[in-house]
């Protein structure tokens, strides 16, 4: 029987449609106390003093915790540069400074949430307010005040790529395009606000039930801040209401563990629960990085690309989070899936007093893709060549080298992907090359104020951790029965955040063992029950888990054949090694696998209002193998609608380090009335040579090329290039009526 490639119903579908699925905020434990967080009132200040006496005196308050109560007051995914709680008396120097309004200052634990909320208002914090630095360019400038006192610069990450002789290549280029692109922040807006419950489990472990993207990383972060041995900390994920990268860093994990541990040490062994409201969620977690990308691309009249030069600057916000990794990706992807012989890239990430920026679907890819694809479309216009034809003359192949001096892993399919997309959108291949028959701008006689255009773009997205980051994933398979396998247990920590990972795991297990789906039970996402799987990020989980499952299944079957009963087989998958950027040249082997994508957009522009309406998106994705085609389509459509929000609707506003868009009624995400009229996902299956069953990762890639495809369509309709978005009506109207 084939289980991979089938539209199997999700393993969690019934629990979710009946309301029985429990999310972190739905779980209550007997005798639980409630916690609330006091966030910083200022984006930049020194906390001189915190007076918690009135709050502690409020009847029903069990404890008020501040910086002095954190055993090792620091955490961070890449660098432990953030205090768990900011204020005086910390184990960490300079932790008396707040650097952003998402800094947490105090925790109140009380009998009820209401009392905890009242107590927050009784905490007196004496701030010495400092001027916030919110402009990344100002923060980078010589002489800027330093935000992290232990450093001598606000710049915390620099990469460079040097390939060939770009200077003479630009001198000799017949056409050069040079522009500055500006991309906005974006809020994840997963529907389940951060929540969780902590307790001491039956083995005395500090245990947190919470939503996240990597159980074992959460466990490490908690252990680090609480100075506990790893095995004394347990992290369990229940159902999780969306993530998109926004749960990659800590929110309530460490503070829940801290609260439970603190009470326990005082002889109060009670569970502690926290639920953030929407405003706390929007202030309390990171956003997508805004970028400034200055990009210069050279070509000859025959369309052949000669050189590219890029300068990328991103606002990391107050703490590092995953900024260095995001920048690593953007630095690589900013030259697109093209063979460009001469490349210079300089990237800088800088601290400011804005909210931290971090992981969000695409992870630097959408920003980079917007810049390069916009420039490619502009080059095509300037040369007078069709944009598909221009791309076809430059698309990277397995024989070419990337900007970083090494070839892509085998299985490069950008050419058939773009070709399929172009044809689906109406392009034809003629003797003179690819052409769009007729005009890419149309108008409607009845509605003269509506202009309609067609745009195109393509891209590629890495699968898995990049640039030498340790990459592994472990699965355990248990087989029970005597003459035949009666029951299979898969133990896997891989998080289910909504993307369908657990269903894919079960399908791949059934396939690898050749047993019916019904025999496979999943024990998932509990550090006490499962081994490290790495994060659900970087489009990696199907790929990594699939290979770990295949390894464990092969091992389990050989043990079964050797008459072991029951069988327990654990397998750790390690993909081919990647290597970091060489500091001088950027030379590296950045990734072990990729997915390839192309999109065509038909967009309408209302010249009277500046409103953009997406009529149609064609999205062609080489996913290698669609383990569950329905879920793959769900990823494509979901990514496109989220990317459409990023392009034309979502407008996250911070002023002076304060968040102005704190609700879902001021930060607008697409509703059913905002979605494109037609989305046509086209799934291609060119197997990845090392992917499980041929699968590539695909959760992010549909996101990447949408913005430049939309701006290309808008340009086709109006003649205006937008180098900055979101294309909210005001921006479009002003550009049309300048």
């Amino acid at each position: 029987m084939e289980y991979v490639g089938k539209n199997v119903m999700r393993v969690d579908a019934l629990a979710k449609v009946t309301g029985l699925a429990q999310y972190p905020g739905d779980i209550d434990l007997p005798d639980q106390a409630y916690m609330k967080v006091l966030f910083s009132a200022h984006p930049h200040a020194i906390i001189k003093q915190i007076d918690t006496s009135q709050a502690e005196a409020l009847p029903g308050v069990l404890a008020v915790l501040t910086a002095k109560d954190v055993p090792n007051n620091e955490y961070g995914l890449i660098s432990p540069d953030q205090p768990v709680l900011c204020g005086p008396g910390s184990t960490k120097e300079f932790a008396d400074r707040v650097l952003t309004v998402c800094d947490q200052v105090a925790l109140v634990i009380a009998e009820t949430e209401k009392i905890a909320r009242q107590a927050l208002k009784l905490i007196r914090v004496d701030y010495e307010v400092l001027p916030p630095i919110t402009d990344p360019l100002a923060a980078m400038a010589e002489g800027s005040p330093i935000l992290h006192q232990e450093l001598n610069s606000n710049i915390f990450c620099k990469f460079r790529i040097r390939k060939g002789d770009w200077e003479s290549a630009f001198r000799d280029s017949e056409v050069v395009i040079e522009d500055e692109y500006v991309t906005p922040a974006q809020e994840h807006a997963y529907l389940q606000p951060e929540a969780g419950v902590g307790y001491i489990d039956e083995q005395g472990r500090v245990t947190v039930i919470v939503g996240g993207q990597w159980t074992h990383e959460d466990q490490e972060q908690i252990a680090h801040s609480l100075k506990l041995p790893l095995e004394q900390v347990r992290v369990i994920y229940p159902a999780i209401g969306g993530a998109f990268g926004g749960r990659e860093d800590m929110s309530v994990q460490i503070i829940l563990a801290l609260a439970v541990q603190h009470l326990h040490q005082r002889g109060i062994s009670r569970p502690v629960k926290i639920i953030w409201n929407r405003e706390e969620s929007m202030i309390g977690h990171h956003k997508r990085h805004p970028y400034i990308i200055r990009l210069k691309v050279g070509a000859n009249r025959d369309g052949k690309l000669t050189a590219a030069q890029a300068e990328l600057i991103t606002d990391g916000g107050a703490y590092m989070y995953t900024s260095t990794k995001v920048m690593g990706n953007a630095t690589l992807l900013v030259t697109g899936p093209y063979n460009i012989p001469n490349v210079r890239v300089d990237s800088t990430a800088v601290y400011t007093n804005n909210l931290p920026n971090g992981a969000f679907r695409g992870f630097g890819g959408p920003q980079a893709c917007f810049a390069i694809e916009s420039s490619i479309n502009k080059l095509a216009e300037k040369i007078g060549m069709d944009p598909v034809e221009l791309r076809m003359r430059n698309l990277i192949t397995e024989n070419d080298t990337l900007s970083v001096g090494t070839p892509l892993p085998r299985g490069v399919t950008i050419q058939p992907v773009l070709e399929r997309c172009a044809r689906a959108a109406g392009w034809v291949k003629t003797e003179g090359g690819w052409k769009y028959p007729g005009s890419r701008i149309t108008s409607d006689g009845d509605r003269p104020h509506i202009l309609q255009g067609v745009g195109i773009s393509c891209g590629y997205k890495n699968v898995g951790f990049s640039f030498g980051a340790p990459e592994r994933c472990t699965a355990t398979i248990e087989l029970y029965g005597e003459s035949e396998i009666e029951k299979v247990i898969l133990r896997h920590a891989g998080a289910e955040v909504g993307q369908g990972s657990h269903t894919a795991f079960v399908q791949m297990t059934a396939q690898a063992l050749n047993v019916p789906l019904e025999k496979v039970q999943l024990i998932a996402s509990d550090t006490a029950e499962t081994e490290n799987a790495g994060s659900v990020s970087a489009s990696r989980m199907t790929f990594m888990a699939g290979n770990s499952i295949r390894g464990a299944a092969a091992l389990a079957l050989s043990k079964w054949q050797a008459e072991e009963r029951p069988v327990i087989a654990t397998y750790e998958y390690r993909p081919p090694k990647t290597t970091p950027y060489d500091p001088a040249t950027g030379k590296s082997e950045p990734n072990f696998a990729y997915g390839y994508v192309a999109e065509a957009v038909t967009a309408e522009v209302d010249v009277e209002t500046g409103q953009i309406r997406l009529k149609k998106i064609i999205c062609v994705d080489d996913v290698g193998r669609a383990v569950n085609p329905q879920q793959v389509e769900g990823q494509i459509e979901g990514a496109l609608v989220q990317a459409a929000g990023y392009a034309i609707l979502e407008n996250f506003i911070q002023t002076g380090g304060q968040v102005l868009t704190r609700t879902l009624s001021t930060y607008l995400i697409p509703t059913i009335l905002d979605i494109p009229d037609v989305i046509e996902p086209i799934i291609l299956e060119y197997p990845d040579p090392i992917g499980p069953f041929g699968a590539r990762g695909m959760g992010e890639m549909p996101y990447l090329p949408l913005v430049p495809a939309i701006t290309d369509a808008v340009h086709a309709a109006t003649g205006i290039w937008f180098d900055e978005f979101p294309l909210v009506p005001e921006r479009v109207f002003n550009a049309l009526h300048q």
Binding site: N277, T663, S665
Partner: protein, 162 residues
């Protein structure tokens, strides 16, 4: 200061003590422990808290509990019969509309309020109803597809029981 209130929840008449500032959502989640109904925002924007009150889909997060005196409330836990799913639940489960699932109960109850009252609802009426809900995962098309299937299933069921 509490007050007494009686209401029927998922077919069972209940009399409870409530604080007057509580919303229907507070009571459903915190008093009855029916956590299928969700809280996703602070200002009745997201639709995850939708339940059916006296046959109509309402946002329970801005529904004062005093207004629920004597009302008949249905939550997502109350519409399946044992292991048999309501047609809306089975259609939504099969259409690909479930990803993270946090929006799902509210959407199921929205469609319940519309389609049980008006099985002949137009496409526009269904879209308008779903426009009260946010989903961040699936792009809405699978939800709409599920709604169309559910509508057909309900019509068939109604015809069969005539």
């Amino acid at each position: 200061m509490t007050e007494k209130i009686s209401l029927t929840v998922n077919g069972k008449l209940q009399t409870i003590e409530v604080e007057p500032e509580m919303t229907l959502l507070d009571v459903i989640r915190d008093v009855f422990n029916l956590t299928g109904t969700k809280r996703g925002c602070d200002n009745s924007t997201c639709g995850t808290c939708v339940v059916v009150v006296n046959g109509k889909a309402v946002k329970s997060c801005n529904y004062p509990i005093s207004k629920a005196q004597g009302a008949t409330i249905l939550t997502v836990e109350g519409i399946s019969q044992g292991m048999t799913l309501h047609p809306i639940q089975s259609a939504i489960a099969e259409s690909g509309a479930v990803q993270c699932g946090f929006c799902t109960p509210g959407i199921v109850m929205e469609l319940y309020g519309l389609l049980e009252e008006k099985p002949e609802a137009s496409e526009q009426e269904m879209t308008n109803a779903l426009n009260k809900h946010l989903c961040r995962c699936n792009g809405y098309e699978p939800i709409m597809n599920g709604a169309r299937v559910a509508q057909e299933l309900i019509k068939e069921r109604n015809k069969a029981s005539e």
